[in-house]
Homo-oligomer: 116 residues x 2
DNA sequence: AATATAGTAAAGTATCTGCTTAACTAATTA
DNA sequence: TAATTAGTTAAGCAGATACTTTACTATATT
């Protein structure tokens, strides 16, 4: 009774940020934002080989940022928002930590200097 | 009259995500979330050389994620939230693109299948 | 059946990255 | 002033990374 769902693939922050660290992979994610597409349509505007695109897709899929499915001979790719949400969450946590820090500083200043 | 402020360093998405792609650099950012610290305090828990930490800090500073200032012989480091906000924004854009896509899909399904 | 299309897999390679060591400068402290 | 502390810089290196080419499989089209 320690796990409600057999989570399909828990987002791995390390792999996610590593995947996001590459310009081409981010370009792929941007394209996928407009809708699910096949591997070769993904490759068309990218100025690298199909083989290279497939390698990037492997990284993206292993990180959980993208899900793909093969029907017949065409593999269709789409963004998995869970992964993106995880990355966004990590950053937001850092930002709120920074905000808390700022608040604390303001408190200290207010204590030291009670009336402007 | 085409620029209000001489922006000190416009956030560069490419450098930012590259910087975030490294585990050690993210650990540095997490530590900086608790407050501004010196280079050697930053290095203490990191199990790598001071020199290596300095190199990571260079990457973080060039990306705009961190700002540092040297007073006497000690350099103090702190998060620059602008950079983090830029990264968070990029991700949010991708997610909302995905959401729009999902909405469009729901509309299509609703049209094809008007009443359950 | 022959050809074209969509993708995969493996091997090789040039470049990038994260790290170390070592030698150095500048600011404290004893 | 001598020793310590905090950080910097450069050189070098092992392993990772983003590609390429080539050869291949499976599905679709003619």
């Amino acid at each position: 009774m320690h796990q409600k769902k057999p989570r399909q693939k828990k987002p791995d922050i390390d792999r996610i940020f590593h995947a996001l660290g590459d310009l081409t992979r981010r370009a792929i994610l941007e394209q996928l934002g407009h809708g699910a597409v096949s591997v070769s349509k993904l490759a068309a505007p990218l100025d690298i080989t199909l083989a290279a695109v497939v390698q990037h897709l492997q990284v993206l899929e292993e990180s959980g940022l993208v899900r793909t499915e093969k029907l017949g001979r065409v593999r269709t790719c789409q963004v998995d928002p869970i992964g993106l949400a995880a990355a966004e969450g990590w950053i937001r946590d850092r930002r709120t930590a920074w905000d808390r820090q700022l608040d604390r500083l303001e408190e200290l200043l207010a204590e030291e200097n009670p009336e402007g």
